[in-house]
């Protein structure tokens, strides 16, 4: 059972070149901020290190932080420019019963990050859902396509805060 500090120590002296941000003060869940391009190496280490042994990824959630600047596009509804999107990785070690939360921040306009499906198979559908509803594309994901929305849905990604509903889809009126 390792505490958050011990895990941070282990990570710091193992990856001296990567710049981590540790947030033990976050009230409910302390988390570690990892740069986007290094996420799969860090996760591989977290899983294979036999002291940490994070063998199960509980949850992978994408969040649209919606902190860019709002501008009006031609049709009058507002579009977000710039800003960030973040992905939270909850992982847990069943052997040592300790949990960890890792956060990754991506640019909102074309968010892309390395996929962790090769490390935990469970991430496969979580990542496809993040791609489908937020538009985050995961590099070298086995088959990245829409999972919840219809495959031919070309009106953007619904869970973004500035998403506009289409008027018609395949001849059916969508809004009420």
């Amino acid at each position: 059972m390792k505490s958050f500090e011990e895990i941070s120590e282990l990570l710091k002296n193992n990856f001296s070149d990567i710049h981590f941000e540790f947030h033990p003060e976050a009230k409910f869940e302390p988390y570690i901020l990892v740069p986007a391009n290094k996420i799969d190496t860090v996760c591989l280490f977290l899983r294979d290190n036999n002291e940490l042994y994070f063998d199960s990824l509980i949850n992978l959630s994408a969040v649209d932080d919606f902190n860019g600047n709002k501008i009006k596009d031609d049709k009058g509804n507002e579009i977000m420019q710039g800003g960030t999107m973040s992905i939270y990785y909850h992982m847990e070690s069943i052997k040592f019963r300790h949990k960890l939360l890792i956060k990754v921040i991506l640019d909102r306009d074309n968010p892309s990050v390395n996929s962790v499906t090769s490390i935990w198979n469970c991430a496969n559908w979580h990542e496809r859902e993040a791609f489908d509803l937020f538009g985050i594309n995961f590099n070298n994901h086995p088959d990245l396509r829409r999972i919840l929305m219809p495959y031919d849905w070309e009106f953007g990604h619904p869970l973004r805060k500035d998403y506009q509903n289409p008027e018609f889809y395949q001849g059916m009126k969508v809004p009420y």
Binding site: P150, Y169, Q170, M172, V174, Y176
Partner: protein, 166 residues
Amino acid sequence: MGLLDKEFSENNILITTTENLFNWARLSSLWQVGFGLACCAIEMMATSASHYDFDRFGVIPRPSPRQSDVIIVSGTVTLKMALRVKRLYEQMPDPKYVISMGSCSNCGGPYWEHGYHVLKGVDRVIPVDVYVPGCPPRPEALLEGLLKLQEKIRYESITKKNNEIV
């Protein structure tokens, strides 16, 4: 054949009795497509279970749409599913009826405002005969919906154009 078409316009003994017989036969053996979408499907299963028995009214769940007369749309019809429901409806042989069960399939239900993927009512895709309100409607409500449909079939007529329900 002169007799038949002359007498066809208004009711006479020949037409009404066969019509009543056919209507009675159609309404007392409505075979439903075993097809559930969401929470209302669980209530539909509860209705065909022992406590509120659907079989008393002659309703058996048939697996294939080819052999069924009534399709009970029980649950939320999403846009991705709407095309399938439409095709399923078209595959059913002709005297077919639709019971829209639950407020989700009546008008989009709790998802009417922000459900970007929910079809606001199954009647935008297929013609509906009976709407059963409720989320999910109680089994008794579904049975009442079925009786309402049976009433409608009882007064269907091939001769009268506007079959006003008595």
